[in-house]
């Protein structure tokens, strides 16, 4: 890669990280990300106070259910929407995008820098939350049980799978929302469409299922959840044709790369005309 591009990507990163992490506007993203941490830790604290340890297997299933039905589908989804959609759209609304467009930087390099900043920010927020959720949930079981789960059980591979799914969710949803922020003026419409598309993924024909992020993410989750309530939640969680990780990971990265390439064409043609926004 051209060394100048690396310098420029790092310059964009510095600017974007500052905006992403210190923005008051993004407070709700932290709230969404760390809500499960509060719930799981609260549950453990109550159990410790009542001198009652929960069922480890049941807690593992609770985590898997919350992770798939809330964390991936809502928290990371909307967190990525808030961060990635604003990378370009937010700057147009703030009338500050020209700062980048007046620099001798390829628009594709700018897009790469912004995307990378979004990925780093979301990954840091959401993987931290994932780790804290696990720590909070298993707090009541004590270190001995937890270390046994890590060393003798599937603990390490499960945690690695959840963290991997979190990172890939940030990349997958990030690329889609970055592209949506470049193409659409109103983020609500694409967000609603993508949310519906991701929700009905399980009932779509096999080929169409592959054009979604959640399809790959579900395949990477280590525990298949089967909600007792059935109905809508069952529809969200069912995965009749799971994909092995060695296909799911490159598959999702490929979909994300394709979306980013399409977005870069759009950014290349983008004009600054704040008056019409």
């Amino acid at each position: 890669m051209n060394p100048l591009w690396i310098t420029q990507i790092l310059a964009v990163l510095r600017l974007e990280m500052r905006k992403t992490f210190l923005s008051k506007r993004g407070f709700w993203i932290y709230l969404l990300a760390f809500l499960p941490v509060v719930l799981f830790t609260g549950k453990s604290i109550v159990e410790i106070r009542m001198h009652r340890a929960g069922d480890f297997g049941q807690d593992t299933n609770i985590f898997a259910t919350i992770f798939q039905l809330f964390y991936l589908r809502l928290a990371i989804f909307f967190g990525c929407l808030g961060i990635f959609m604003n990378l370009f759209r937010g700057e147009i609304l703030d009338r500050s995008l020209h700062y980048y467009f007046l620099a001798p930087i390829r628009r594709e390099v700018l897009l790469a820098g912004k995307f990378l900043a979004g990925v780093i920010a979301t990954c840091l927020i959401f993987t931290t939350s994932t780790v804290l959720q696990i720590a909070g949930l298993y707090l009541s079981h004590g270190w001995r049980v937890f270390s046994d789960y890590l060393i003798n059980g599937n603990g390490i591979s499960h945690i690695a799978a959840y963290l991997g799914a979190t990172v890939l969710a940030c990349i997958g949803y990030g690329s889609i929302f970055l592209a949506a922020g470049v193409v659409f003026r109103n983020p609500l419409i694409p967000a609603a469409v993508i949310l519906v598309w991701e929700s009905i993924n399980s009932i779509l024909p096999s080929l169409l299922q592959k054009f979604s992020v959640i399809y790959y993410l579900k395949s990477l989750c280590p525990i298949q959840i089967i909600p007792e309530s059935g109905g809508f939640f069952a529809m969200l969680s069912i995965n009749v044709d799971p994909m092995p990780p060695y296909i799911a990971v490159p598959g999702l990265l490929l979909v994300s790369a394709a979306v980013l390439v399409a977005a870069s064409f759009q950014v290349r043609r983008m004009e600054i005309n704040y008056a019409t926004e």
């Binding site: 310098t7 510095r14 007046l102 620099a103 001798p104 930087i105 004009e271 600054i272 005309n273 704040y274």
Partner: protein, 314 residues
Amino acid sequence: MRANDRVVFENVSKFYGDVLGVNRVNLSIPPGITSLVGPNGSGKTTLMNLMTGLIRPSRGHIRVLGIRTDNPEELFRYVGYCTQFDSFPKGFTGYQFVYSYLRLYGCAHAEAEDLTWKAIERVGMTEPARRKIAGYSKGMRQRIKLAQSVCHGPSVLVLDEPLNGLDPLVRAETIALFRTLAEDGMHVIISSHILHEVDQISDQVILLSNGYVVAEGKIRGVRSEMQEHPMQILVRCNRPGVLAAKVFEQDSVVEAQIHKDGLGVLVKTRDPDKFYLLLNHIAQNGVTIESVAPADDDVNSVYEYLIGSEEAGR
């Protein structure tokens, strides 16, 4: 310096949906100070945004020093643009605003820091540079934008209403800076709707009205081509009555009016060169000429003649 030293517009039109931005613009702008003059909505900012690639033409081609405007990575090595947009990345100090731009440019930290302070010093912003831009006055914001646009030493400097909000002293310093840059061989392209301001600083003007270029060139050249409006010349002398009678003998003089203060004659002539020759002759025959000055070869008059008093006064 690049081989091609012009900013060239070839039959350029820009439409915003059904709304006309500029239409059929053909220009070849040489180095020096060029002013785009016209009332609000005449197309000045559109032309500037086109030449910096912020918008793309609906028709035609633009090249800046031979570089296509859809090639920002090369274009902005040579171009600096001080826009009219009064918004800045949130939380930035003046220093960070310029420094970060230079990092985007590709400069290493030490070089960026050095160039930043040089540019900031050049626009007289050293003292407030470490303060947040949010607390700057309009004039300070204007100057820090100017620092950002010159910090990388561009060959073409595009300035959209650069003197807006500046106090008279800073305005004079800024104009002097433009002069220095132009004398160094740079293109300084300025937009303004304040005509007398442009008159003081421009080597050439481009007059715009409703998206069309109505005249271009050196302001006096543009004026002399307007034969239907005789040139007005104010002659200060000791015997205005005698002078008025003498000049009326010349065919090309269409009007000679004693000035209100009684100390000069305002002459309207279709042939200024012939009139100046006559004036020499008169001066040798007992009339003491104190001063001779064209009264309507400034941008304001030219604009008024071309477009009409209504728009010129806007």
